[in-house]
């Protein structure tokens, strides 16, 4: 490998120099030399000592939806959680049109399957999973298990098949059985909502009476720690932070030690968003995991946070993160938009990962356990 790299490096270097000389000959222009680029993971310059612009009261003015449910009816919300179907209802017009069309027809033909295929692909289920599911239905039509003149039965069979992908279970989050604090680690690509998910979970878990410690393991993105701190204040949870650019493993280690010393039962560990293609960052994550499972901490969940708008790349993400840190479950966020989040069907059928939580709104009570029956029913409208 090294040989190859040497060759490459040099070939590229030569390409660059040649290109440059020619380029500069062609158009000589002033190039403002900048300071050397920031190293990929160099510590950021310390934030200017500004008054926190987003102290909770200020946030309340700007963001009533964030505050109101938190103070309003959290207890009740946990018990009677928002019905997924209602939340998704706003966005389901598109697909239900397809299914209505099929339902109202007299028989089942290739056009029916084409429409089903389109509907599932539009829901981001992906070509491979869609083809597999539909081929199965086709074969059942052939051997007479399904009637060719009964479209509603076909749709029911499809719905049952998709629900069965999830084994029909509501997966719950695991707590450790020993004495040490339970650790849940949150991983995912950039911008999927890891920090927000942790904030909401902290609120929920604090209400159940568990002492919660938040570990601000995202030491890379500017102000990620501040964001988590705001949530800690709202939830009344403790937070352990490192300096910007600190080793995330050490922050999480400290948080576990802190939780153990204080007798807190649960550590929610945030990590910086990273694309699964970045080898070095995935290595860093492996280390974070190794540190997080060190006693007294008991690592029971590694949750991959996934944005519902994600397309087929979600499968690749799930595979890569599972390979690196052994993902135990998926948190599907932002399902209250127009996206259907069908990629979790592909993930489930290809990798068998359970979906544990879904986010259906901005409020803390809008993070609910995943219910396969509701989820699939919502797809069908």
């Amino acid at each position: 490998m090294t040989l190859l790299i040497i060759l490459l490096a040099v070939a590229l270097a030569v390409v660059m120099s040649a290109v440059l000389v020619i380029g500069s000959g062609n158009r000589r222009r002033t190039r403002a030399r900048q300071a050397a680029p920031v190293a990929p993971r160099a510590p950021l310059s310390p934030p200017a000592p500004l008054p926190a612009p987003l102290s909770p009261p200020a946030g309340a003015v700007a963001a009533p939806p964030l505050e109101a449910p938190a103070l309003g009816a959290p207890e009740e919300a946990v018990v009677s959680r928002p019905v997924l179907r209602e939340r998704l209802g706003r966005a389901r017009g598109l697909l239900s049109g397809y299914f209505e069309g099929i339902r109202s027809r007299k028989g089942i033909d290739e056009a029916t399957f084409e429409q089903l295929e389109e509907a599932l692909i539009l829901a981001d289920v992906g070509v491979a999973t869609t083809t597999r599911v539909l081929d199965d239905l086709r074969s059942r039509l052939r051997d007479g298990t399904l009637s060719a003149t009964d479209p509603p039965a076909l749709l029911q069979a499809l719905q049952a098949d998709l629900t069965a992908l999830f084994d029909g279970d509501v997966e719950s989050l695991e707590y450790g059985e020993g004495d040490g604090p339970t650790v849940w680690l949150f991983v995912g690509v950039n911008g999927v909502g890891k920090t927000t998910t942790i904030g909401k979970l902290a609120l929920r878990e604090m209400q159940t009476g568990r002492g919660v410690v938040l570990a601000a393991g995202d030491t890379f993105r500017a102000a990620a720690g501040e964001q988590l701190e705001t949530w800690a204040e709202r939830a009344g949870a403790r937070i352990v932070r490192g300096s910007d650019g600190a080793d995330p493993s050490s922050v999480i280690f400290d948080a576990v030690q802190h939780a153990a010393a204080r007798g807190s039962g649960l550590v929610l560990a945030d990590t910086a968003g990273r694309l699964h293609t970045k080898v070095n960052l995935m290595e860093e994550l492996r280390k974070v995991r190794r540190v997080a499972e060190r006693p007294p901490g008991q690592l029971t969940e590694v949750l991959l946070v996934l944005d519902a708008t994600t397309g087929q790349n979600g499968v690749v993400q799930a595979r890569q993160f599972t390979e690196a840190v052994g993902v135990t479950g998926i948190v599907l966020t932002k399902l209250d938009g127009t996206a259907k989040g069908g990629v979790v069907l592909a993930i489930r059928s290809e990798l068998g990962l359970p979906i544990k939580l879904v986010g259906v709104g901005e409020g803390p009570a809008d993070l609910v356990p995943f219910d396969p029956v509701e989820f699939v029913a919502a797809l069908f409208g």
């Binding site: 790299i5 120099s17 040649a18 500069s24 966005a91 701190e229 694309l275 127009t338």
Partner: protein
């Protein structure tokens, strides 16, 4: 990000190349493959169907039959249709006659608006402008804080206060005018397209600052939903362009095609990494070539111009031509290369890099290891590697924390490289100065005909690596 799409097309096209003549059945099969490839790349279904129809119309019947090599014709058609779907010309920013030029960023939560705002500000600075950032995202905790940190990093002022987004935008604009800034970038909170309240709010922000450009920030990993979201934002805000983010992942980036098609406005910028300077203007023709596996040479050249020190490169080329390229020069080049970011990123832009090499996990730490080896050599050893005997090699290995095998490998490769470069030297000169001459041994990878002086050396220079 477009690699996988590229791979699929390469597979399809390889099979096509073997065929002399394409019947209707073959065309149908190819189109089906292209359809699946595009759908798996998350291109929106409607857009795919539209695209396939246009390709079908041009690939069946008379137009194709006239050609002796139908496969090449199909490639050409697909390329043209992709390019036209991605948009004709790159967006050119025209600055407001009466500054400041106002740019508004909007999009879903987590699409990367705040980061894009900072990157855009830096880009404007590079264009010689004086940007100013307004943090109107008062929704997400610490979003403004994030913008301030980034602003400090790139040396651009940030305005925000905890009131409401509309007045923040208005006052920020007034402040920018007072400070004499000529570009103002407004970062807004992420919102769902169906959230009427927040969509109204962003419309009011927009009305209050009257942006010259409104950019829709969209994640390259977005699935089928990209179309609906883009439509909704376009209806509310009248978008002028698109910023595609997280392009450095392995998402196939079909969202780019979809959004472009729906909004009908150009993709203006690509956000390609975590560093603030990982930001490029978008060129549809280059991207289409990239999808078809032709590499993106022009982007590479621009990146090189930005990062590479011209004098050092000039010297290196001179020595190269004179055949006196030493390990010291090699070290210089290596360091320049490191500045351009992760090696894999650079590789993905090069044309003709074989798939195995593109997919190879190139660990950038290996570069550092080579650097360490050379740094452990004395000046004499660097200029004349022949003095290196066993004991010197052992010393170098120990000094650099490597093994003698690694040192030996490096030296062997370096020697071969020197040989190779003696052939390359006159070629580069030929391309640069236009002097006709016998150009040494072009590597066997020299498979492309020169399109122009600036493209030639790149594709040739790569040859020997294959």
């Amino acid at each position: 990000m477009f690699d996988t799409l590229t791979d699929r097309f390469e597979g399809i096209l390889t099979r096509l190349r073997g065929r002399g003549r394409l019947g209707d059945a073959e065309v149908a099969e190819v189109l089906r493959e292209i359809r699946v490839a595009l759908l798996e790349a998350d291109v929106n279904l409607a857009v795919v169907q539209d695209l396939i129809e246009r390709i079908r119309a041009r690939c069946t019947g008379a137009e194709l039959a006239k050609h002796l090599t139908p496969a090449q014709q199909v490639i050409k058609v697909v390329n043209e249709e992709l390019t036209s779907t991605l948009g004709g010309e790159a967006l050119k920013i025209s600055y407001a006659p009466k500054p400041p030029t106002v740019v508004l960023l909007a999009g879903l939560q987590g699409s990367g608006k705040t980061t894009a705002a900072a990157k855009l500000a830096r880009w404007f600075r590079q264009q010689g402008r004086h940007p100013y950032l307004i943090g109107a995202d008062l929704q997400r905790p610490a979003a403004v804080e994030q913008l301030r940190v980034l602003g400090t990093e790139i040396g651009v002022g940030v305005f925000s206060e905890p009131t409401d987004p509309v007045s923040v935008a208005r006052q920020g604009l007034a402040e920018a005018v007072r400070l004499g800034r000529d570009v103002v970038i407004v970062d807004t909170a992420g919102r769902l397209a169906i959230d009427r309240e927040l969509m109204d709010e962003v419309r009011r922000v927009s009305d209050s600052v009257r942006p010259n450009y409104t950019f829709f920030v969209v994640d390259a990993m977005t699935g089928q939903d990209a179309v609906q979201t883009a439509e909704a934002f376009h209806k509310t805000l009248q978008l002028d362009g698109i910023i595609l983010t997280k392009v450095d992942g392995d998402a196939r980036g079909g969202a780019a095609l979809s959004v472009k098609q729906v909004v009908g406005k150009p993709i203006a910028f690509l956000s390609t990494g975590e560093r603030v300077d990982d930001f490029e203007t978008f060129h549809p023709d280059r991207l289409a070539s990239r999808i078809l596996g032709m590499g993106d040479v022009l982007s590479l050249i621009e990146k090189a111009e930005r990062e590479y020190d011209g004098d050092v490169a000039n010297q290196a080329l001179e020595r190269l031509q004179a055949g006196t390229f030493t390990l010291d020069d090699f070290l210089d080049q290596l360091r320049q290369l490191k500045k351009m970011g992760p090696l894999t990123g650079v590789l993905s832009l090069l044309p003709g890099v074989p798939k195995e090499m593109r997919d190879a996990k190139v660990d950038d730490r290996d570069l550092s290891r080579i650097e360490a080896i050379i740094c452990s050599m004395t000046p004499i050893e660097r200029t004349d590697p022949t003095v290196l005997d066993g004991s010197r090699r052992l010393r170098i290995a120990q000094g650099s924390g490597t093994s003698t095998t690694e040192v030996n490998n490096l030296l062997r490769q370096f020697k071969e490289m020197q040989k190779m470069m003696r052939g390359f030297g006159p070629m580069a000169k030929l391309a640069g100065g236009g002097r006709a001459g016998k150009a040494g041994k072009p590597g066997k990878g020299n498979r492309k005909k020169a399109k122009g002086g600036r493209v030639t050396p790149s594709s040739r220079g790569l040859g020997p690596t294959r």
